[in-house]
Amino acid sequence: MASLNPPLTQFGFRRVNSHSMPDKKTLASKAELRDFEEETLPLMPLLLALARRQTNSEQDAEDLVAETYIKAFRSWSQFEPGSNLKAWLVKIMRNTNLNNIEKTKRDKSHGASIDALEDWQVGAATSLTAMASRSAEAEAIDNMPAKSVTDALDRLPGEFKEVVLQAIVLGLPYAEIAENMGTPVGTVMSRLHRGKKLLRAELAGYGREEGYSVENIDNGDKGQK
């Protein structure tokens, strides 16, 4: 199929076809392979951290990362040196994951956009923590088991979770996140803000259920016994 091969379609936005390779089939030299490995592999743990939050099992997460690396390798010549490699890999992984999801179960359409989530819904959640002093809340969050935090992350609406992960865990600039998600930078900013707010409320709720609640912190002078 002789297509013009426009830059955006190389990641296969619409469909997955593992047998369709990019037009040029060249054998990378040893040096090029090493170059690819040295530049991309140090970023693998971060990509896996992201993949783990966007798939349903460790196996799927590892497969997604592996698939991402294979696509990245095939498109390596198209990576612009000096641009943000981490963001480039995240974009490939994001599109791969979207394709995979689309492939397995077509549609799961939510009606309204997630950004239409009413302010009162976000706001109400915050008031749950209003009673606790900030330092007690900070202590509770600091002592929160990793699993509780990742579970809470997984309960965030997808778009919020994605921005929180890309910004905080991967440290990507807003502009790169906006580009990857196809949204304006302002949307990224508001999703980060609201995502963290929701997460904070989730964790406050979790803390109460599991006994990490600030009321139960046994530090002598605080807490009701």
Partner: protein, 82 residues
């Protein structure tokens, strides 16, 4: 230098922590934080929260994943050369 007030400072917390502010804005925030306990507490909390989120997500990959990936990449590369 026109320093930010509390409202402006609190509004910029995420941009500050993500280093998305201009140098001038960073300075204005820093100047405000230096003498405002309330805002400093907010920033400290959000910073801690970020640290906790990062820490919770960075469980190490399985030891052999990197080599498995590169083995697959080499395989693809060899196929492409045929």
């Amino acid at each position: 230098m026109t320093e930010f007030n509390c409202q402006e400072t609190k509004k910029h917390v995420h941009e500050f922590l993500q280093q998305e502010l201009s140098d001038a804005e960073m300075n204005e925030v820093a100047a405000h934080l230096a003498h405002c306990e309330s805002c400093e507490g907010d920033y400290g909390f959000e910073h801690l929260f970020n640290t906790v989120i990062q820490r919770s997500c960075n469980e190490a990959p399985p030891a052999e994943l990197a080599s498995r990936i590169m083995a697959r990449v080499r395989e693809i590369n060899a196929e492409a050369g045929k």
